[in-house]
C-alpha cells in the first residue's frame, strides 16, 4: 500500500503548491490591482497609521495634532484654539474626508515621500512621520476678528501686501472641528443652508461687492490713462445707465466733481459713467489682472474656492459679454459676486504699489525633528497697475478714511487708506451687505483687509464693516 500513499503525498504537494501559487498571486503578483481596487479602504486607513504632522499658528501655538488610539491608528484632534481657525484649517477624519489646509497640505502633513527615501527610511527603521505645517495666521488678530464679527454671518481676510501672507481668515458662524468626528453632527451642519457653518465665506462666499468695486473701476480709469484723479464728471442723480435710472445713495446730488471727490463720497452716478466710458474691454482686462474670473491662487483646495466675477444663473459670465451692464459693474452691482479673499487681494495690490502677490496661508513646513524643510517664499502673481497709478489710488483711498465714508476705520496716529461698500440686496426691507476694504499704514503698508457681513438691516459699510477693519488692523500693526 506504500505506492498509493506516496502518490497521495504527491497530490498533497500539488495542492499545497496551488495554495502557495494563489497566495503569491494575491499578495505579490496581482497585489497592486487589489490595493487600488476602489472597494479597498486600506489606503485611507494606511494614512491614519502615519503620525500626521502638526498644524501651528504663526506664533507656533498648536492647532491640530494627532493622537494614537488603542488600535494604534492616529486620529486628528484640534486644540480649543483651533475653533478660531476652523475654516482655514479644515478637517481630517476618516469618515468625512479632508478639507482646508488639511487637504491642500496633505502631502506634507502625511509625510509623503518619494519611493527611494521611504525605502531608505524603512531600512533605517525610521517610521514615516508627517511634517508640521506652520501657517501665517495670527491667533490674536484672528480672535479680534472673530469677536468683532460676533454672532453675525460674515468674514474677515487680512493679507500682508508685500508678501501675500494671509494673516487673518475668519468666517462666521464657525464650528468646533472636533465635533465633525460625529457623522450626525457633520450631516446636520452640512444641511444647515440658512447658516452654512461649514462654508468658508472668505474663499467660497460670493457676495455683491457694492462700492468697494469702485477701486477696480478707478484702477482701470487711471491706469489706462483715460482719467486722472482730477478729471471731473457730473454727479447728478438719477441718470440712465443701460436703459434704467441709476441713483446715488440717498439720491444725493453732486455737481461736476473730481474722481477723488467721487471716491471719497462714493458717488454712484460718476463711477457708472466712468465705467461706461472705459467700456467692457478695459474693465474686463483690469478685473482679470486683479484675479477675477479665476480661482484665487491660494494654497487651499480648489473645491473650496470660488472665482469672483459676474455670474449668470450660477455660471461665470465674461465681463466682456454685451449682456453685462458694465456701468453697474463699475459700481459693484449687476450680477457681480466676489469673495472677501478677492477684495482683500484688491486692497493688498494697491498697497503693494500695484503688484499682486499670491496669497499664502502656509508660512513654512518643518519636519518632525524641527528642521525647516520648506519656507514658502513670497510669489508675485502679476503687475496690475503702474506704481504711479497705485500712488494716486492710495491718495484717493486715504481721503475716504480721512473725510469720506470710511472715517470709522481711522486709526490713532496711523494713516489708513480704504473704501466702503454697501450693497443693497433688498431695498424694500433695507437688507444690505456692508463692506470695507483698506490698508495701513498709508505710506508703507503692512496690512490689507477686507471685511463683509451678510444681510444687515440698514447697515452701511462705513458704519458696520469699517470699525471691524479698524480693530483688526490695529491688532496687526501693534
Amino acid at each position: 500500500m506504500n505506492a498509493p500513499i506516496l502518490k497521495l503525498f504527491g497530490l498533497v504537494l500539488v495542492l499545497f503548491a496551488a495554495l502557495v501559487g494563489m497566495t503569491s498571486w494575491n499578495s505579490v503578483i496581482n497585489a497592486k490591482e487589489y490595493r487600488t481596487n476602489r472597494l479597498n479602504a486600506r489606503p485611507q486607513i494606511e494614512e491614519q497609521r502615519v503620525h500626521r504632522g502638526l498644524i501651528r499658528a504663526r506664533d507656533d501655538s498648536v492647532l491640530a495634532r494627532s493622537v494614537q488610539g488603542s488600535d494604534t491608528l492616529y486620529r486628528r484632534r484640534y486644540t480649543p484654539e483651533a475653533r478660531l481657525f476652523a475654516h482655514a484649517l479644515g478637517y481630517d477624519f476618516l469618515r468625512i474626508g479632508r478639507a482646508g489646509l488639511e487637504r491642500s497640505r496633505n502631502a506634507a502633513l502625511a509625510g509623503e515621500q518619494n519611493e527611494l527615501s521611504s525605502v531608505v527610511d524603512q531600512l533605517r527603521g525610521k517610521r514615516r512621520e508627517g511634517d508640521t505645517v506652520v501657517t501665517n495666521l495670527d491667533p490674536r488678530a484672528q480672535r479680534v476678528a472673530r469677536e468683532a464679527l460676533g454672532s453675525r454671518k460674515g468674514s474677515v481676510v487680512a493679507i500682508e501686501p508685500a508678501t501675500g501672507k494671509v494673516r487673518v481668515m475668519v468666517s462666521t458662524p464657525g464650528y468646533d472641528p472636533n465635533a465633525l468626528r460625529n457623522q450626525r453632527i457633520f450631516d446636520r451642519l452640512n444641511r444647515d443652508d440658512a447658516n452654512a457653518p461649514l462654508l468658508n465665506r472668505a474663499t467660497q462666499g460670493g457676495y455683491v461687492p457694492g462700492s468697494t468695486f469702485k477701486v477696480v473701476t478707478a484702477t482701470a480709469a487711471l491706469d489706462s490713462g483715460t482719467f486722472t484723479p482730477d478729471s471731473t464728471v457730473s454727479g447728478r442723480s438719477p441718470i440712465v445707465i443701460s436703459g434704467a435710472p441709476l441713483r446715488n445713495f440717498s439720491d444725493e446730488q453732486f455737481g461736476s466733481i473730481t474722481l477723488t471727490t467721487a471716491l471719497t463720497h462714493s458717488v454712484n452716478t460718476v463711477w457708472a459713467q466712468v465705467a461706461e466710458r472705459l467700456g467692457h474691454e478695459r474693465i474686463a482686462e483690469y478685473m482679470k489682472r486683479y484675479g477675477f474670473d479665476s480661482d484665487p491662487p491660494l494654497d487651499y483646495p480648489a473645491g473650496q474656492m470660488l472665482a469672483s466675477g459676474v455670474y449668470d444663473r450660477g455660471r461665470l459670465l465674461s465681463p466682456r459679454s454685451r449682456r453685462v451692464d458694465i456701468g453697474r459693474v463699475g459700481i459693484g452691482q449687476e450680477r457681480l459676486r466676489v469673495t472677501p479673499l478677492q477684495m482683500a487681494t484688491v486692497a493688498a495690490t494697491v498697497a503693494n504699489g500695484g503688484v499682486r502677490m499670491k496669497p499664502q496661508l502656509t508660512g513654512r513646513i518643518v519636519d518632525a525633528d524641527g528642521r525647516t524643510v520648506e519656507r514658502i517664499e513670497p510669489e508675485r502673481s502679476e503687475r496690475v497697475m503702474s506704481a504711479s497709478t497705485a500712488r494716486q489710488l492710495t491718495e484717493m483711498m486715504s481721503n475716504v478714511v480721512r473725510e469720506g465714508t470710511g472715517t470709522a476705520a481711522a486709526l490713532q496716529g496711523i494713516e489708513v487708506a480704504g473704501k466702503t461698500g454697501t450693497a443693497e440686496l433688498n431695498i424694500a426691507r433695507r437688507i444690505n451687505q456692508p463692506w470695507f476694504i483698506g490698508f495701513a499704514p498709508r505710506n508703507a503698508p503692512r496690512i490689507a483687509v477686507a471685511v463683509t457681513i451678510q444681510n444687515v438691516v440698514g447697515g452701511q459699510g462705513g458704519v458696520v464693516a469699517a470699525p471691524i477693519a479698524k480693530r483688526v488692523m490695529e491688532e496687526l500693526l501693534r
Binding site: 500500500m1 506504500n2 505506492a3 498509493p4 500513499i5 506516496l6 502518490k7 497521495l8 503525498f9 498533497v12 504537494l13 495542492l15 499545497f16 496551488a18 495554495l19 502557495v20 494563489m22 497566495t23 503569491s24 498571486w25 494575491n26 499578495s27 505579490v28 496581482n30 497585489a31 497592486k32 487589489y34 490595493r35 481596487n37 472597494l39 479597498n40 479602504a41 486600506r42 486607513i45 494606511e46 491614519q48 497609521r49 488610539g69 488600535d71 494604534t72 491608528l73 476618516l94
Partner: protein, 434 residues
C-alpha cells in the same frame, strides 16, 4: 540520539518562536518590552515539556518531529490570536490544556494496542454520524449547521466526526480491500467494485450527500469525502474508484448548487468577489472574500509585521471578518507576507510528510490506513480553508488546524495527533526490532 531527545531539541525553536512572537506583539502594542512575553513563552514551554514527558514515558519510539511541528503551529496560532484579541488567546490557551489532556488520555488509553479501536468500529461510525447531525438541532450560521451549543460551550462536532469516520473506514477497508480489488469488474473501460461491497461504499457517499443537504456545509463534506477517497485509493490502489467517487460527489454538489441559494451565493462570490452588488449584499455576499484578498494584497512579500494588519477600526464592525477563525490565514499573509504564509504551509507539509511516512512504516493494514487517512483529512482541511481564503476554491468555513481559534478543533486535532503518534510508536518499535 534517541527519538525523544530529538523531540526535546526540536521543541526549542517552537518555544523561541512563541517568545519572539509575543515580544513582537508587545513591542508593537506597548512600545515597551514586558517580561509578560517571557512568561507566556515559559508557560507554553512548560506545557510542551509536560506533553513531551507523557510521550517519553508512554511512546518512546514515536516520530520525534510531529509534536514539535504541531507546537510550532500552535504557538503561531496563539501569537496570532493574542495579537487579535487577548481574551481569545487566553481562551485558546485554556483549550490547549484541555486538548493536551485529551491527547494524554488517548495515548494512555490506547498505549497497549491502538488496534482495539477496530472492535468498536460500528459504534464509532454511529457516534460520528450522530455528532454530524447534532448541529441540525440548533440554528444555522451563515446558512450552514456547524456548531452545537451545550450550555455556554459551542461545539463543532464535525471536527471530532472526521476522526471517527476515518477510524471506521480504515477498519472497514482493512477487511474489504482484497475483495474490492479481486471482485472488481471492468465495464466501459472503468473498473467497478463488486456490487455486494459497493453497498457500504455507497453508504459513505450517501452520508456525505446527506451531510451536504442536511448540514449544508460544503467544506466539511468535501473534507470527509476527500478523506474517504484517499483511503479507498490507498486501500485498493485503483484510480478508477476515485474517479467514480469524484463523479458521484460532483453530481451531488451540482444538484445542491441548483436547489440551495446559499451555495449559489458562495460560488457567485467566489467568481465575482469585486462585483459591487455582491460586495454590498448583507447576507451571503462577497464582502468577506474581497476583504480577505485585500488583506493578502496588503501583506506583499514580507508582510506588514506582527500586529500591523488592519483588522478593525475602533468599535466599528471589523474590516476583515472572522479574522480569528476562517480568515486567520489572511491575517498571517497580511502580517508576515507571502514568505510567512508559505512557511506556515511548509510546516503543514512537513507534518503531512511525517504522517504519510508513519503510514508507510506501519506494518499492519489498519494502522497504515488509519495514519494515511488521518493525515489526508488534515491536509484536505488545510487545503479547503486556505483554498477558500485565497479564492482558489469557493469559501467554506472550516478551521485551520492548530492555528484557528476554536476549542473543538484543538481537542479533535490533538486526538488526531495522539493517534498518529500511537501508530508511529508501534511501527518504529517494530522497525527497530527487525
Amino acid at each position: 540520539m534517541t527519538a525523544r531527545n530529538r523531540e526535546l531539541f526540536a521543541l526549542i525553536p517552537a518555544s523561541l518562536l512563541v517568545t519572539a512572537g509575543f515580544t513582537a506583539v508587545f513591542i508593537q502594542r506597548e512600545a515597551l518590552l514586558s517580561d509578560l512575553s517571557l512568561t507566556y513563552g515559559a508557560i507554553f514551554l512548560a506545557l510542551c515539556l509536560a506533553a513531551h514527558l507523557v510521550l517519553r514515558i508512554t511512546l518512546p519510539h514515536a516520530d520525534p518531529y510531529m509534536f514539535p511541528l504541531v507546537a510550532v503551529l500552535a504557538c503561531f496560532g496563539l501569537v496570532m490570536l493574542y495579537r487579535l484579541d487577548e481574551d481569545l488567546a487566553r481562551d485558546q490557551a485554556k483549550w490547549f490544556v484541555v486538548g493536551l489532556a485529551f491527547f494524554a488520555a488517548t495515548i494512555v488509553a490506547l498505549r497497549r494496542d491502538h488496534r482495539v479501536l477496530e472492535r468498536y468500529r460500528y459504534s464509532i461510525a454511529l457516534v460520528g454520524i450522530v455528532l454530524l447531525l447534532l448541529p441540525r438541532l440548533g440554528s444555522p450560521v451563515n446558512g450552514a449547521y456547524l456548531s452545537f451549543h451545550a450550555g455556554p460551550i459551542a461545539f463543532q462536532p464535525a471536527e471530532l466526526a472526521k476522526i471517527a469516520i476515518v477510524i471506521f473506514l480504515a477498519s472497514y477497508l482493512r477487511d474489504t480491500r482484497q475483495v474490492l480489488v479481486v471482485g472488481a469488474r471492468r465495464f466501459a473501460g472503468i473498473t467497478f467494485p463488486p456490487l455486494k461491497h459497493l453497498g457500504p461504499l455507497l453508504a459513505v457517499w450517501g452520508t456525505a450527500m446527506v451531510m451536504l443537504f442536511v448540514i449544508q456545509d460544503l467544506g466539511s463534506s468535501l473534507m470527509f469525502f476527500g478523506g474517504f477517497l484517499a483511503l479507498i485509493y490507498v486501500a485498493t490502489n485503483r484510480i478508477s474508484f476515485v474517479v467514480i467517487g469524484v463523479t458521484l460527489f460532483a453530481l451531488g454538489a451540482r444538484v445542491l448548487y441548483a436547489v440551495r441559494p446559499t451555495i449559489q451565493h458562495r460560488v457567485d462570490a467566489w467568481l465575482h468577489p469585486f462585483n459591487p452588488d455582491l460586495y454590498n449584499q448583507t447576507v451571503g455576499g462577497s464582502f468577506q472574500i474581497a476583504q480577505s484578498i485585500f488583506s493578502q494584497a496588503d501583506g506583499g512579500l514580507f508582510g506588514q509585521g506582527f500586529g500591523q494588519a488592519v483588522i478593525r477600526l475602533g468599535d466599528n464592525p471589523p474590516i476583515l471578518p472572522a479574522a480569528h477563525t476562517d480568515f486567520i490565514y489572511a491575517v498571517i499573509t497580511d502580517e508576515l507576507g507571502l514568505l510567512g504564509a508559505a512557511a506556515v504551509l511548509l510546516v503543514y507539509l512537513l507534518f503531512v510528510e511525517r504522517g504519510f511516512k508513519t503510514a508507510m512504516l506501519a506494518t499492519d493494514s489498519f494502522s497504515k490506513l488509519l495514519a494515511a487517512g488521518l493525515t489526508a483529512v488534515l491536509a484536505l482541511q488545510v487545503f479547503v480553508i486556505v483554498g477558500g481564503v485565497t479564492k482558489l476554491i469557493p469559501l467554506t468555513g472550516v478551521t485551520l488546524p492548530f492555528v484557528s481559534y476554536g476549542g473543538s478543533s484543538i481537542v479533535a486535532n490533538f486526538i488526531l495527533l495522539a493517534l498518529l503518534l500511537l501508530v508511529s510508536d508501534r511501527a518504529r518499535r517494530e522497525a527497530e526490532l527487525r
